[in-house]
Assembly symmetry: C7
Homo-oligomer: 95 residues x 7
């Protein structure tokens, strides 16, 4: 089964907070309700309903930080995913 | 009797959550108030009231996940349907 | 006395819920606060106040389902009517 | 003293609800907080502040139904009037 | 000292309610929190911040009725004035 | 240290209310939470983030009245300043 | 690990309030919930999702004052950062 987000939406797979990982990324625990780390799983086609193209600036595999407020959670095969408009993704983390 | 949604609206028939279906899709029970699975039954003509065309990116028969907040429920012959703007459909699931 | 709605407004005459009608349409009783069935009585001229034309996609006699939130009720000769913007009409039912 | 509404505003003189008038119009008493009947007294020039023309679709003398929410009441010589944007007038009643 | 309102703003000097004046204008006392009578003292240049021209439809000396909600009061030499966007002035009263 | 406001923002230095000054300006004490007197200290470059030019209608040294709601206070060397969008400045006072 | 903000977003590193620094900047303690001082760490590419270019008026290393309301905090390697749209940055401080 394949997931095809509509428009500029992006499906994310949340990444558990890692303490002192090799990458050095630490999202503070007290911050758990704040921005969250996730990986991009799949993207919409970047065409809005009114036909306007949206520039997709994230790509599959990117690690991103997003605000919990913008995303909607759903589950597939026991895994939790988040679907979100690209404009609610805050930043990309690059190694 | 035929249903003709106006503008970019889409009529959906909700699909009961299936546990461990052949398709592998599982929407968690605890998630029941969150996004919902449904099948597209019929579409509006994709012309907005102001005459602007809307690109209909879903088609009849598509399995979609939508947010309960965007849809309005109604019943026809005892079956519950949901009418929703296409822009409130989150994603299409493809086999 | 003739009613002339302004702009894109539509005057509807609500139809009582019928149980198991020949048309097969049943709006569930528990649904009474939800979308409602009505017949289109008369239409505005489809010209917005700023002069922009609106495409009137419903016509006199159409059976429509509308959301109670968008309509305003009034009475004429003891009959209740609803006036509503066309964009708040959800769908047309065709025989 | 002459009243000159600005822009697309319209001055209305509310009409008391009449029971079973010759015109047949009856606004139900229980409806008193709902749409109201009034007569158009005078109109703005139909030019918005930004210079855009507005099509005035009501004219002096028209009987109209308007929503109480959109209007602001004022008194002149003991008579209550209502000033309202044309877009908050719902419909015109024609004999 | 001269007051120069910015953009489309208008400075008004409130006029006390007069009972049965020669002009015939009476704003009801019970109406004190509702629209208010004032005289136009000075006008902005009618150029919005983005450079768009605004058509100033009121002029110095005009008697106007405005809604208290839109205006901001200030005092100069013990006199209370109101500064308001022209679009929040409801109407001009002409003798 | 120099302050450079972004876009159409303006930095103001509040002026204490003076009673019966030579200029004749008196902002009533009871009015302390209402519009406030200040002097323009420095201006943004008048270019919005989207590249659109804004016409700066105030200049350094101008005495202005602004609404407290639109401004954000900060301190530099013990002096309180206010930063505000030009569109929230109500008027300029000229001698 | 590199942080790449999306669109017109800016990553800031908050600067502790310094009392009477050489630069003379003092943000009052009582002001702690008000605008905050920070240094620009990295910038988005200045291309909005719809392809429109945004003029980035801040640059890496700039000391800026921003409103806490517009920013979202996150932590990386124990350091707190703030991500914010450029339009919510109030001003740049120059030596």
């Amino acid at each position: 089964m394949k997931i095809k987000p509509l428009f500029d939406r992006v499906v994310l797979k949340p990444i558990q907070n890692e303490n002192k990982t090799s990458s050095g990324l630490v999202l503070a625990e007290s911050n758990a309700e704040k921005p969250l780390l996730a990986q991009v799983i799949t993207l919409g086609n970047g065409i809005e309903a009114d036909g306007k193209p949206v520039e997709m600036q994230v790509k599959v595999g990117d690690k991103v930080i997003y605000s919990r407020y913008g995303g909607i959670e759903f589950k597939l095969d026991g895994q939790t995913y988040v679907i979100i408009r690209q404009s609610d993704i805050l930043m990309v983390l690059e190694d």
